[in-house]
Amino acid sequence: MARIARQDKDAYRMLVGRHLGKSLKVAERVLGNRQDAEDVTQEVCLKIWDEAVRWEPRAKFSTWLYRVVINACLDRRRKAVPAAMEDLDLLADDAPGADEKMIADQLSDRVRRALQVLPERQRIAIVLGYYEELSNQEAADAMDIMLGAFQQLLFRAKQRLKDELISEEREYKHAGHL
């Protein structure tokens, strides 16, 4: 960060290269939309460039980055709720497919929709705790909440996802066998 503060583009390229994929995946899973996720990730990366001179290493860089990405996603979502809901409605219109790729894509979309139905904080808890494989303490730090509160969020998110996904999956399989 000290090198980036001195406008060292090579250092910036290296840092962005290291964290871009992670930031984009978090943003896409939180927002449920690739285009918005790319916009948010770009915004966050430019913030790193602009704010490097004021960077103070109070926390791990990755923890700070997760926090910035999450806040940027929440801001984005607050500003664009109607568009996000419209996208979900379109995605809900699944067409039956025959080949494996189509089935895999449909399943992926179902999980994405189920995640989007979760309250924001529960969804973030799943993204950080499951997909990013952060420890509970790291995820709680990234969300700026207490450890116990994070564990509660994760527990509720898991229960709700089970209700949404597994029961639906069983009904689907059961109907297929009939």
């Binding site: 962005v16 871009l20 995946k25 770009q42 990366c45 460039w49 399943l107 992926s108 999980v111 597994i166």
Partner: protein, 106 residues
């Protein structure tokens, strides 16, 4: 994989795939990261200075201390060439309250 997720839910969650970032996104970000105007001429230590309340109090305190020290240094210097008045500074005046030694003897 965290223990709390049972295999069934984990398998479903794993089916949600997200693509890696495209090289175009990386290039777009690097292109938009432009040098900051004037940053080259401002030294790093100066760029790091940000306003904080405790810094402001420290500055005000220093200013007051400087003002006080400046005022204190305005005391007129003692001159060894100018004779002090007898009534206030001579030994007999201080101890006995007389204007000169002759008065005491008399």
């Amino acid at each position: 994989m965290p223990d709390i997720f049972d295999r069934e839910l984990a398998a479903l969650l794993d089916s949600y795939k997200v693509e890696e970032p495209s090289p175009e996104l990386m290039e777009r970000i690097l292109r938009r990261a432009q040098p900051r105007a004037g940053a080259a001429v401002i030294p790093l230590w100066a760029q790091r200075q940000t306003f904080r309340p405790h810094s402001a109090f420290a500055l005000i305190g220093l200013a007051l201390l400087g003002f006080w020290l400046g005022s204190a240094s305005q005391v007129k210097p003692f001159s060894v060439t100018s004779a002090p008045s007898v009534s206030t500074l001579t030994l007999d005046g201080v101890i006995l309250g007389a204007s000169n030694l002759n008065e005491v003897i008399l």
